[in-house]
Symmetry: C2
Subunit: 138 residues, 2 copies
Amino acid sequence: MHYDTLKSILKAGGASLTQPRKIIFDLMLNQGPQSMQVLVRRAKDKVDRATVYRTIELFERLGIVRRLNIGWKYKIELTDAFSGHHHHMYCTNCGRVFDLPDNPMLETMIDTVAAKSGFSPRGHQLEVYGLCANCSKA
Amino acid sequence: MHYDTLKSILKAGGASLTQPRKIIFDLMLNQGPQSMQVLVRRAKDKVDRATVYRTIELFERLGIVRRLNIGWKYKIELTDAFSGHHHHMYCTNCGRVFDLPDNPMLETMIDTVAAKSGFSPRGHQLEVYGLCANCSKA
DNA sequence: GCTGAATTTGCAAATTTGTCGCAATTTAAT
DNA sequence: ATTAAATTGCGACAAATTTGCAAATTCAGC
């Protein structure tokens, strides 16, 4: 079922697929980028606060989630392996987050520019901020 | 002297150039991106923790510094006005931060892609992570 | 399916991070 | 120099994150 990929990543990392980890993974699947605060609140009654933190740390180390900077505090979301590669546009007026339209050429160019000085890029994060279509009108 | 630009920005914002603000500005000039934790520690004995936070908040509001997501926690650095527009490459092995080589075409393309869906971009942040030239060899 | 070793969890306490009110000090403009 | 306004430092807080440890869960091998 839908924990197969998760399970194999955990096993490869020497960790096991536990009840709390399933719950947190599901919370990540069903919601977009979310803050720790929100994730902890959503997991409340099922998973202890400390376990949420420990799990996210583990998930990040194994490349299951990543943290990104949207607005002031960081948020967590599933990595490309689960949600597809994408970037974000953050509306500084209404606070909503949108996906940046796909553009393979842009992706390539980012890695190319980075490689110019001998760096070996393994990934990147891009956040555009400004006004969304709606807020631009007002 | 070298506080001229800083002073005029502060004055334009209705704030004054004080001793603590000079100290913090200098700490930003001499170091690259740094975490609040480190900045607070470096300013210790000269500037109170609360003042560091208040100052960074002011500096951010006036566009003197910005915060960015490198590694785990956010970091602070001087804005483009002081350090020129640039992005970062973060080496996940040694933890060092490098500037991404300038590339005007990349900058343009980012805004263009964002504008595609009606978004009005006003800025962006890009972070590439991977291995630096040095760590690639090992 | 059961069993033991190893991992993981929940709980409570500690630490860290960021904020706030207010009296004392510093700044800037006369 | 003088003074009003802005700013600082100093607790004291509130919120976020981490840690130690005993109890519970997972998993591999029977």
